[in-house]
Amino acid sequence: MTSEVRIPDPLDLDREEEARLRAAAGLAPATPTVRDYAGFESVGLPDRPPQTEREREVYTLEEGEMLVNMGPQHPSTHGVMRLVVKVRGEVVTDIDPVLGYLHRGIEKLCENATYTTVMTYVDPMDYLASMHNEHAPAIAFEKLFGIRAPRRAEYIRALVVELNRVFSHGLMMGFLALDMGGITPILYGFINRDEIVDMLSAISGQRMLFNFFRVGGVNFDANDEFFSRLGTWRANVLKNVEMSERVITDNEIFRARTIGMGTLSGKDAISLGVSGPNLRASGVAFDVRRAHPYSIYPELEFEVITHSAGDSNARYLQRIAEIKQSIHLIDQIVDKMPHGPVQAQVPGIIRPKPGRAYGAVESPRGLYSVYAISDGGPNPYRFRMRDPSFVSLQAIPKLMPGHLIADTMAVMASFDPVMGGVDK
């Protein structure tokens, strides 16, 4: 019978050394830490008493439970966010999202900016939907100021906004697959995005933070390069979308990891404030473009698409359907686009009369709205932005208990949050 050979762990040696030194110095032995049980330090336990009932609930561990930090630099959190995940083995029992790593105080910045320069501050909020970010304040400020954009400007706005929606949803398809280990679709997503971004850069001069909308119109008229790129893109886009669809939709692994995952009922979705494609994938036909038509949407033909399943797969299919719907809308907009000016006459420094206005748009992530108050001065007295991903994020702690850790990322990607918007 061979004697048991124990190879000492260097960490254990350190501990034995510490215990020997402590004994020699007449000190009490060190109290065992989480490391002694788990093999590594449990992270995320705050070194202060819990402030609320809910915080106590999350940070109180029962036998066999452990807290793991996902983030703030985790690639699947789509930005800088920390999820404190309470796990029992591989199964999630609770989640506490910790926000604020990207908080820039954009509301406060906008309250110190003039009505025109606000447009530059809201761009980097939800950086995959910059056009939508600018659309909502433009609507709210035009209501405050009592002017309307010319019809051609409204058509150009709707056009760029729908283009933005197409590339945002296309990226969502790619990121969803990427978070499940599929690398190819994100490349197709970025090819599609680059074509659209080049187009938008031709019209606005910027690739990402467009700074294109103005109170009472848009910055530039659509030019030949824009329309030429639009034509090239339009000729191939349906084929390309179907190609990435073929790569993802019927993939066995993708189906196994999305069907029945993170199922959100319509009732819960409404209660949680989830909006946009995520809400419509739960069967609720709420689309701001139809519910409170703005811009030229009353003149366009489209139906509000819904899916009934409410799971990750339904949210994915909803995005694909909306990409096709947006392409259909783009066709209509280009067909109907009138000639004329693209900017109403507004003074250099806009001072609306005191009042309040609410402007809401349907962004790729849902209901994006701005509540602006004017006190008669050159900058908004209060500028409030409601970002859809911020509110939708509340669904994650509700949905994830009972699922595996690895599915947390897959379900989160299906909600398509953007941390720039969540943290403002």
């Binding site: 705050p46 202060r48 008493p49 819990p50 402030q51 609320t52 009932e53 809910r54 915080e55 926000l99 604020g100 908080h103 105080g105 509301e107 406060k108 209501k143 819960d268 409404i270 209660s271 949680l272 404030g273 989830v274 709420f286 519910a291 409170h292 003074p347 420094i349 001072r351 009369k353 005191p354 009042g355 309040r356 206005a357 609410y358 809401a360 209901l367 709205s369 509540y371 108050i373 004017s374 006190d375 008669g376 001065g377 007295y381 209060r382 409030r384 409601r386 911020f390 509110v391 994020l393 509340q394 509700k398 943290d423 403002k424």
Partner: protein, 213 residues
């Protein structure tokens, strides 16, 4: 062009009272609201696609619940909840925007909250999604939502003690308002007035921290 030179209005006088001749779009809703909540809603106001009511903060849940559950009104979706600070000596407002399939207008409910004792009942019992909105309002404005079981900071760190979106919040480098007006305070740290950041007793935070010791 005359109104370009208009002086800034006093903080209390924001917004013009318009007459109750609502646009045809929202007329039915205005009549319904006057009928149901004539005594509750102190002010009614409309613009092109918004109807607005003002109420006392203490009765917000009562009104919101009625608006949500009444089959004629059916405001089932909380679109937005935000806080507005009208300055020292004035008031806070918690502003709810609601959506209903049955009415072609957004409904804005402005609930007044005292600035000295900023307490208001929570709406998380009606909509779970009000949680993040209320945490943000607490974090940024210091409004305390009674009954909210997770009222902690959401953007700022847990040990932060001030409320950055209040009108009287000044950054140390806010040159126009600090004691070092006229110089660039970033270059002269000795002029920073940091005492108000560390000593100010933020309502709510201290009570939370001590309650658990």
């Amino acid at each position: 062009m005359a109104n370009l030179r208009r002086p800034r209005a006093a903080a209390g006088g924001l917004g013009r009272r318009r007459s109750l001749t609502a646009p045809a779009k929202a007329g039915a809703l205005v009549r319904l609201l006057l009928d149901r909540f004539g005594d509750l809603a102190t002010d009614l106001w409309t613009d092109e696609d918004t109807v607005e009511v003002r109420i006392d903060g203490a009765r917000n849940v009562e009104l919101l619940k009625a608006l949500r559950d009444d089959p004629d009104l059916d405001f089932f979706y909380l679109a937005d909840a935000a806080a507005v600070d009208y300055g020292v000596g004035e008031r806070f407002e918690v502003v709810y925007h609601l959506y209903s399939d049955k009415h072609p207008a957004w409904l804005r409910v402005r609930a007044t909250v005292s600035r000295d004792a900023p307490h208001i009942p929570t709406a998380t019992g009606l909509w779970e999604g009000a949680m993040f909105h209320e945490r943000e309002m607490y974090d940024m404005m210091g409004i305390i939502f009674d009954g909210n079981r997770d009222l902690r900071r959401i953007y700022m760190s847990p040990d932060y003690r001030s409320f950055p979106q209040r009108r009287d919040f000044l950054l140390p480098d806010d040159a126009a308002d600090s004691s070092a007006a006229g110089v660039k305070p970033l270059e002269r740290p000795e002029t920073w007035d940091l005492s108000r950041l560390s000593e100010e007793q933020a309502p709510g935070v201290v009570a939370h921290a001590e309650g658990e010791a």
